[in-house]
Symmetry: D2
Subunit: 156 residues, 4 copies
């Protein structure tokens, strides 16, 4: 299977600085540095993150830990949502639910996020994780997430 | 508020080595070392983990990242479940859902897990996270999790 | 096991008409009449609903349908949340997650809801369902739910 | 927007009687009759249900009740999963999580379900609900669901 790419022109951004604000917010997340995550792509309502395997990201069988996968997907889906928010607002995860579909067994994890519904206050997203092993890509997790727009409280 | 302590004698372990197998599995999770998590307590159907604050565990506002909180709670709840599993079995997270109740703003995160229903194959748990700031404890997240018992496949 | 009763004095209501507004909103839910649900008790931050078994509430094995159980628990938890809302507001379910712990096999279903966190806009609740068979009570489902307060839009 | 149709040839059924067993199981669900739900289409790994509006399916504002929507989507996704199960097995909902995206305001609700991952024991599905008002279709809910295959226990 292939990792999905950004859907074309599904959403109009409400902030001309959408790309910059996502990139600078991502850079401020200490946890992204800790797990070695990189921001691969951000589009209006879409985000992709990559995270190479390291032994210190593992659970007891040596695969990517479910919580570490969640950390990458929570950020990918959160930044998909943040890309559509109005200026002078920040983003907060209200809740998420993740199903682990296959062991996180591979040399690279790709996390994607896309907006399902962009409301004034709440934003609902879908996130997914794909693990790549010897060039073969496996869908390894899927997430439903709720974000909250904190109006009047710019990030950074 | 106070962090809940282990309920007394709610469950009978099915493996005399329940405590040892939890501790050695925890020690094999590279991700627990990465986030600085320590196993504080394990009882049959119960587990508590602590994680001191570090800047590299943060989201963009400097609080504990929702994914990092999830990583600690997923392990606490997973080991609560694993403590009740039969010998010669390993544990896998099927899915979890977490609500963030308050910002992870503090110097210490405490994650707890307890078993709600311990079936032969599936185990349902509840997990919680409490953040401590200047000695004040705040309930900051709550999780519902499904685990799977992998029979005939001992850990370690 | 016993069905939990209302916790004492955990929350202060913000609307003197909290009990009346819950009861009249419940009475307007056509779906509660359809499934034969009755409002047993409402306290600030707490609600209990009962639903006797009928064959037309069943899934294919003759037990209470997971969706019908969800309907009762969604309302119980929703009214627990609504009981704490300010005047001139209405309540909306944002999302919920339910784990089915045991078959809904019995002559009576009891659904309870309680508030975990009551914020200005979002309210997080826990819901549970208990099935009674020949006088024996079994915990059969547990829910985590997010509600939204719609300010300036009174119900009824 | 349009209601999605069945994806072509994504899954191979493991039981030659997949369509018959889904239809007869659906017919045994008393709750489907109660809410006026009809099985529109079943394909391997896919199912669609329709439910016309009635006042007794409503919440307090007169829209489809979130629990009633969940009941239809839980069945649609459950039958998508059941269509791929081996002979001599029955299906059980382990858990589901639903986000309500828009009010269930319309004359018809369409629920769809599709399989994301079909394992030997656990099956992960996605469900969606679409409400139709004056010919306009709105995506009103999305669900992630876990099903369990009960081997050696045929339905019916």
């Amino acid at each position: 299977m292939h990792v999905p790419t950004a859907p074309q022109h599904r959403f109009e951004p409400r902030d001309p600085h959408w790309a910059d604000k996502v990139r600078s917010s991502f850079a401020r997340q200490g946890a992204m540095g800790l797990i070695g995550a990189e921001l691969v792509d951000v589009q209006p309502g879409w985000c992709q993150i990559s995270m190479p395997y390291r032994a210190d990201l593992s659970q007891q069988h040596g695969y990517f830990h479910a919580g570490i996968i969640s950390t990458a997907v929570d950020s990918a889906a959160g930044y998909a949502g943040f890309s559509l928010m109005v200026p002078n607002a920040s983003v907060l995860s209200v809740e998420f639910k993740i199903n682990l579909l296959a062991p996180g067994d591979g040399e690279l994890m790709i996390a994607t996020g896309e907006v399902i519904k962009s409301g004034r206050t709440l934003v609902i997203t879908r996130g997914d994780a794909y693990v790549v092993k010897h060039g073969k890509t496996t869908h390894c997790a899927t997430m439903q997430q709720t974000l909250m727009t904190m109006h009047g409280k710019a990030e950074g």
